[in-house]
């Protein structure tokens, strides 16, 4: 017990550094995947067939294969097969590769949520906008968008919470996120070896983070309750 207390500051510091990387990947993924998902959603609803097929096949492949494989392929493929290691070998390169993989993967999931949200809005809303001389763009941004957001908050919350935990998959390309940090004390790091308790601590980080997100997303849901 005394030993653990002694090691605590070192471990917490490492975990904080790792968790910062986890959070960075989380936010970068959201910032990229929110708009990209919308673009893919429009693609898969497009009347232009090649675009529609492309979008739907993309979604099929990305959702149909493990994120871990996507991470490995996106990270290693350019260097090993094309002979052009675009990501470099440092932590920055790994973070970039992980960001690209996560954004692409989550954008595909988001696109289906968006598509469901848009399709669930009665056609009468669109027709009312048209009859009032609004452009398609105006109808989307002024009429449809907020109604869609209101409808997709619950399924989006699910995905967002899953994303927090999925970031740990980036461990597979040695991104130094929180699991990587916790695990290092199993193998031995900074004079601590064979310690499993730091890993339990990592779980607490995830729990707290998701607790906060649940509260925030619940508030958003409530805030949108002013209309039906």
């Amino acid at each position: 017990m005394e030993l653990i207390l002694e090691q605590m500051p070192i471990v917490i510091h490492s975990l904080n550094v790792g968790f910062l990387q986890t959070l960075k990947l989380f936010f970068v993924t959201l910032i990229g995947a929110f708009p990209l998902g919308l673009i893919i959603a429009f693609g898969s609803m497009s009347r232009f067939r090649p675009l529609r097929y492309f979008s739907r096949i993309l979604v099929w492949v990305v959702r149909g294969t493990p994120l871990m494989i996507q991470l490995l392929i996106i990270y290693y493929f350019p260097g090993l097969v094309l002979g052009n290691p675009i990501w470099g070998s440092g932590e920055t390169g790994r973070f970039l590769a992980a960001s690209v993989s996560f954004i692409l993967n989550y954008a595909c999931y988001f696109s289906e949520i968006y598509r469901g949200g848009i399709l669930s809005i009665p056609v009468g809303q669109n027709e009312a906008g048209l009859v009032l001389g609004m452009t398609k763009r105006q109808i989307f941004f002024k009429v449809t968008l907020l109604q869609m957001i209101k409808r997709i908050v619950p399924p989006m919350s699910n995905e967002i919470i899953t994303l927090v935990k999925d970031t740990s998959l980036a461990r597979i390309i040695a991104l130094q996120e929180i699991i990587w940090a916790g695990q290092s004390f199993l193998k031995g790091s900074q004079g601590i070896a064979g310690a499993i308790w730091p890993l339990f601590f990592t779980a607490v980080y995830y729990l707290i983070c998701n607790g906060i997100l649940t509260v925030l997303l619940g508030r958003l849901e409530k805030k949108l309750n002013y209309f039906r």
């Binding site: 009665p122 009468g124 809303q125 027709e127 009312a128 906008g129 048209l130 009859v131 009032l132 001389g133 609004m134 452009t135 105006q138 002024k142 009429v143 907020l146 109604q147 209101k150 002013y226 209309f227 039906r228």
Partner: protein, 261 residues
């Protein structure tokens, strides 16, 4: 010159002919009611006028200008349809108010967006906003909704919603206001308040096309009645003439239930 001339409109969905050679005209200030059983094509006709459906044949002229000609692709340009739509207003059976906006905002939204396209919008922003807001308030007042302006649609009754929808259509000052069964989604108690405002509009010489199942209303409010059956105009003319002395057997049959009441 008639404000609206519709000639030889035909429309089919898949293999079902919904409109079969529809022609009629309308003078400014006139209200015409269209009656007929469900599925006779009344709603499709209104949707064609508002460019929500594209007729397969025929022409539509407003104030002498051909705004649609099935044989002339130049009249069907997507970019101009938006402007042409503004000749018409449409009040839907199911209101279709925008739920995230208050009654007042619903009435103002489209006009505000149109104002943004004015060349001098930036310099007159405040003034335009004030004008649009004032006009919307006047319209809602006229609809008897002064107390309800800041309510959201879900806080309003069906009759109130439909009156907001009428104000919303009027805000763009359409040449011709179309009503697609405006009271069919309302219970009998709320029907009256909507019919009353439409009647007031008729008294003010608003040019209107009213599709309705309210027979007494169709007869009293309109100066012209069109009876549609199976995609065709079977009979049209003076309301009293059509209602009291229908010539066609099908019209008699359709009106018999109304006369029994």
């Amino acid at each position: 010159m008639p404000i609206l001339e519709v000639e030889h409109i035909k429309k089919s969905f898949e293999h079902t002919r919904v409109l079969d050679d529809i022609s009629f005209s309308l003078e400014a200030g006139q209200a015409v009611s269209i009656i007929g059983s469900s599925g006779s094509g009344k709603t499709t006709l209104l949707r064609c006028l508002n460019f929500l459906e594209r007729p397969d044949c025929g022409t539509i002229r407003v104030n002498g200008e051909t705004i649609f000609d099935a044989d002339d692709p130049a009249t069907q340009k997507e970019s101009e349809i938006r402007r042409k739509r503004l000749h018409f207003g449409l009040v839907f059976q199911s209101f279709n108010l925008f739920p995230q906006y208050t009654a007042l905002e619903n009435v103002m939204l489209a006009k505000e967006l149109l104002a943004k396209e004015l060349p001098d919008y930036k310099s007159r922003k405040k003034e335009l906003h004030r004008e649009i807001s004032q006009q919307a308030k006047n319209l809602l007042h006229q609809m008897g909704l002064s107390e309800r302006m800041s309510n959201y649609p879900h806080q309003l009754s069906g009759g109130q919603c439909q009156r907001v929808a009428i104000a919303r259509a009027l805000a763009l000052s359409p040449d011709i206001l179309c009503f697609d069964e405006p009271t069919s989604a309302l219970d009998p108690e709320l029907t009256g308040e909507v019919l009353k405002v439409i009647r007031e509009l008729a008294d003010r010489k608003t040019t209107m096309i009213i599709v309705t199942h309210e027979m007494a209303f169709a007869r009293d409010v309109a100066s012209h009645v069109i009876f549609m059956d199976d995609g065709k105009i079977l009979e049209q003319g003076d309301p009293n003439e059509v209602f009291e002395h229908p010539k066609e057997e099908r019209t008699k049959q359709f009106l018999s239930r109304f006369h029994q009441e």
